[in-house]
């Protein structure tokens, strides 16, 4: 049993989208701009040329926040959305009836409709692919050129992620909603 989370050194991100492609190839996510488990959020730059605000131009890699209090899990009428023993929020495609309540409930817009199965899909921390084979990194972490992500067990005090979080300041997204995300953005 583990309690999986992810730390993101997001200032490293250069918006190359290697993670998006790696995720799709690893997990069989359909092509199409509206079909993705992970993405890089880009903010349009502020200012007028040549006086542009460099600070306003940011790249924020994002995905399912793997909330401890996941609103998507609460609203699911068929219990398709559930927690694994390792604390990963997953969708059981056999139970999903595509009511899309979960998509409405997710404050992070992290879910999409997988059209070949007509069910809701989202980031699984590669639980059913890489982790199942005993690998210890997710596809997005492994491929990243600037090594934004560190995935690991939050309950293991010796894991790299625990050490990082103990030593580096970090924040979570939309903390005020009380969802207790397990994605930590390092400051």
């Amino acid at each position: 049993m583990a309690n999986y989370g992810m730390a993101l050194d997001y200032k490293n991100c250069i918006n190359c989208k290697a993670c998006e492609v790696a995720c799709k190839e690893e997990n069989g996510v359909q092509l199409g701009a509206d079909k993705h488990r992970i993405w890089v959020g880009v903010k349009e730059i502020e200012g007028l040329w040549p006086n542009l605000s460099i600070a306003s131009s940011t790249f924020e890699p994002s995905q399912c926040q793997q909330c401890e209090n996941a609103p998507c899990q609460e609203v699911c009428p068929t219990k398709a959305t559930h927690y694994t023993k390792d604390g990963v929020v997953m969708v059981d495609a056999d139970k999903c009836i595509l009511c899309s309540y979960c998509m409405e409930a997710c404050p992070y817009d992290a879910r999409y409709v997988k059209e070949d199965t007509m069910t809701v899909d989202k980031c699984t921390f590669c639980s059913d692919t890489r982790l199942l084979r005993g690998e210890t990194t997710t596809a997005c972490q492994a491929t990243c050129p600037t090594k934004v992500r560190t995935f690991g067990d939050l309950d293991d005090p010796n894991s790299e992620i625990s050490i990082l979080l103990a030593h580096r300041e970090h924040r979570t997204l939309k903390t005020h909603l009380g969802t207790k995300p397990k994605l930590f953005y390092l400051i």
Binding site: N12, Q30, L31
Partner: protein
């Protein structure tokens, strides 16, 4: 191509047949669906089944990162980074990940094809390999063969031209065409890419070097865009420490790039004026005595002349402000910060040549680096070391009838081997060639999209009697070829072993993850078979016309003649007697022993003491060499910075970097300066048919300043006609403040004209069709940023 199968049938039939010999594809590993436009899409998914893991070197761009292919039941389902290679340090970029989509691209060239229609109309006939080779040698009723051409030209081998793109099998093609068949007329990507930066740095500090971004504390990166044009290890090292984390980053670029987004300061410099900026930095350094005097005295040859030159010409920041659009105060500040940093780097860059003064710009940058003394040391530009592999000699015959290359017009320093694409093409078109050029043998190269002025390239190709292409996809250029030979993609071939140098050197090998699909063949097998087909008939042609050969062989008996043919290198097949796999093993075992070979086969990477040195530091990072074994300093007292290069003056080139007013940035009213560039998701035109990458960037747009667009009533997505003196393109608008009001920007590599590349065809605009074919005067390299254009809404 009429014989091609539809995308749907490709999935149902060909992939299954050719990858796993007729058994059905594991339903979970290779997925397909169809989008609303009826385009078939293929995706992979990994499973828990037993998989082979095959180390490869990526072939999606020139960088050659190391990866490991996961192969399940004969299908490549995932490409992962290889943590053993010190250059690419455990990463793959989006293109590296999307390599599977190139391997399984339904539009791939699958069989040899021979043209049966007119050039450019796309009518081809599927033929066997032998028929294709035969068509090259003997022609068909539609085109002449090589033998007839060389017979008509009395064995003047120089009447054949050839070109090739970057890659591990490039050398073999040069051996076949240049050393064996014997033509000097070779052009490649160098003269449309980074020729002046390689030349400028080599002439000045003796090498291009490598920037030690891991230990630098200050970097000026001008015109290069490492966040989007990914080069390892630079990209990885640079952005882990930018944004106030140890590496102060100053970016100069006419447009706001993703690299600029990571900068401490961004200067929107006028295109083509970087040289004035560097000269002004140098002025500050000399006038305020900020340079490393001891270092300069010891290693900078002629620096006092340069000091006088820079001061005398008053290359002040105030002077540069007017030229560059960068405030004088900022230039002062940057020069002072640079020289007071412990490990400053003026990043060399490795982009295309943008302006006519590029050679001098690179000289000025290299000298400026030298003035800091931060050369051949940790945190600076380093030289490093390379692990030596034994070389194979090629026995190259002498052809008396072959003539020298001629593409020297307007070039000061003629770079013998690879020449200038623009000068070569244009001289042929203008009839300035002293002898005819009648055939082009091309491989992995798409001059229709890469060489400025596409119309001229098309005319040039149409002028040839014979065009041959070896490639994996039917590119724009392929569609003007008479014989098309399908090559195996990089995941289907074992390539000649390579040595990577610098700080942490290693030997690397690309191993085939799967066998060549369809009827494609690896490049070395194609070279071998082509050589086998051509060798006897071409030898007979030499016997008929070559007076030296005739003199030498007069009165020889059959067996003596055969011996002469072998001993003098006329046997074209000799370099391919052994397979790539055999040669790799032989070379590695000879240099490093059997165990090294086993390591290389298993891990894809080998370097001495790898078993001891290589360690995982954390889930993301590895140690390749311990700190005291890294090659930070290798030159020592042999270090030399040539500041005043007097010999250049003899060639009509300024011996010291000098600004000329004709280089000032000027755009007539109502026009725009066209700038082009790269993107992390595509590598030139070669990747534009890749579905996973198309998914990220479906088309290119024209960046136009928001206020300027508003003035002209242009909104996002409006179709614009962009017109220069050489051509026009239609492309959609993207109004943004990231570019100056008198400039526009478009991504390179889009706007494909080959209908056989379904994902790429007609998407966006091809910059090569509007960039004017101007050259810089030192090597004749194409300048990409000196074209002004007009735009209008259509």
């Amino acid at each position: 191509m009429k014989v091609e199968i539809s995308r749907r049938r490709f999935l149902q039939g060909s992939v299954a047949l050719s990858i796993i010999g007729g058994t059905s594809i594991g339903a979970t590993s290779l997925l397909s669906d169809e989008n609303e436009h009826g385009e078939m899409r293929i995706m992979t998914r990994t499973t828990n089944t037993k998989a082979q893991k095959v180390p490869f070197l990526c072939g999606m761009c020139v960088n050659k990162c190391a990866g490991v292919a996961r192969v399940e039941k004969g299908v490549v389902v995932k490409l992962d980074p290889n943590p053993y290679f010190p250059k690419s340090r455990n990463m793959l970029c989006p293109r590296g990940n999307a390599g599977i989509q190139t391997l399984y691209d339904p539009d791939r060239l699958k069989y040899p094809l021979v043209r049966v229609g007119n050039r450019g109309d796309g009518k081809y006939k599927r033929v066997s390999w032998d028929e294709a080779y035969d068509a090259i040698l003997n022609g068909t009723d539609k085109f002449k063969g090589l033998l007839q051409i060389l017979d008509e030209e009395k064995d003047n081998r120089s009447t054949i031209g050839y070109c090739n793109g970057e890659g591990l099998s490039k050398e073999g093609f040069e051996e076949l065409m240049g050393l064996k068949i014997g033509t000097p007329n070779y052009v490649d990507e160098i003269s449309i890419c980074l020729e002046t930066v390689l030349g400028g740095y080599s002439a000045t500090i003796g090498a291009y070097g490598e920037a030690d971004m891991n230990n630098a504390d200050y970097v000026i990166i001008a015109g290069a865009n490492r966040a989007e044009a990914i080069i390892t290890p630079d990209t990885m090292d640079m952005f882990k420490r930018s944004k106030g984390r140890g590496l102060k980053t100053i970016v100069l670029d006419p447009r706001f790039t993703n690299t600029a987004a990571k900068a401490d300061r961004w200067y929107a410099i006028n295109p083509g004026t970087d040289l004035a900026f560097v000269l002004a930095l140098t002025y500050v350094v000399f006038s305020e005595n900020l340079y490393d005097k001891e270092f300069a005295k010891k290693y900078l040859i002629g620096y006092e002349d340069y000091k006088n030159h820079v001061i005398k010409n008053s290359y002040t920041p105030q002077w540069a402000e007017k030229i560059t659009n960068i405030p004088a105060d900022e230039i002062y500040k940057t020069a002072r910060e640079f020289m007071s940093s412990e490990h400053p780097i003026y990043y060399q860059g490795r982009r295309s040549v943008f302006a006519k003064n590029d050679f001098q710009l690179r000289r000025a940058q290299a000298i400026f680096q030298g003035l800091s003394g931060n050369l051949d040391k940790k945190g600076g530009i380093i030289y490093g070391k390379k692990l030596a592999l034994p070389k194979e000699d090629v026995n190259s015959p002498m052809y008396a009838q072959a003539q020298d290359r001629f593409d020297k017009e307007g070039i000061a320093i003629f770079a013998g081997k690879t020449g200038s694409w623009i000068v070569f093409r244009n001289m042929v078109l203008e009839g300035k060639n002293p002898y005819p050029v009648r055939a082009m043998f091309m491989r992995k190269h798409n001059p229709m999209a890469g060489v400025p002025n596409t119309k001229k390239t098309e005319e040039f190709l149409k002028k040839m009697d014979l065009n041959v292409m070896i490639d994996i996809l039917p590119s724009d250029t392929t569609m003007f070829c008479d014989v098309i030979l399908p090559e195996a993609s990089y995941l289907e071939r074992t390539s000649p072993v390579a040595s990577y140098g610098f700080l942490e050197p290693a030997i690397v090998q690309r191993r085939a993850a799967i066998k060549p699909m369809f009827e494609s063949k690896t490049p070395e097998v194609i070279y071998k078979e082509l050589a086998e087909k051509l060798t006897e008939p071409l030898w007979k042609n030499s016997l008929k016309y070559d007076e030296d050969v005739q003199d030498d062989t007069k009165g020889m008996k059959v067996d003596e003649l055969a011996k002469y043919y072998k001993e003098n290198g006329f046997d074209l097949t000799e370099p391919w007697e052994k397979s790539v796999e055999e040669l790799n093993k032989e070379r590695v075992v000879k240099a490093f022993g059997e165990e090294a070979w086993n390591t290389l086969e298993e891990k894809g990477v080998y370097y001495p003491n790898m078993d001891k040195y290589h360690k995982q530091l954390n889930p993301n990072e590895y140690q390749y060499y311990p700190e005291d074994k890294k090659n930070y300093t290798t030159k020592g007292d042999k270090l030399k910075v040539v500041v005043n290069f007097k010999n250049l003056a003899k060639k009509g080139v300024d011996p010291m970097p000098t600004w000329h007013d004709e280089w000032a940035f000027k755009v007539p009213d109502g026009q725009f300066r066209l700038v082009t560039g790269r993107h992390a998701q595509f590598t030139q035109s070669g990747t534009t048919n890749n579905m996973a990458l198309r998914d990220l960037i479906p088309t290119n747009y024209i960046w136009i300043n928001k206020r300027e667009a508003k003035k002209r009533g242009i909104e996002f997505g409006d179709m614009l006609e962009v017109k220069s003196s050489v051509g026009k393109v239609h492309i959609k608008a993207y109004p943004t403040e990231k570019i100056a009001p008198n400039m526009i920007f478009m991504l390179h590599g889009f706007g494909g004209s080959s209908k056989e590349m379904e994902m790429a065809y007609g998407k966006g605009g091809n910059d090569a069709s509007i960039i004017e074919d101007k050259i810089e005067p030192v090597y004749g390299a194409a300048v990409m940023h000196e074209t002004n254009v007009e735009i209008r809404k259509v």
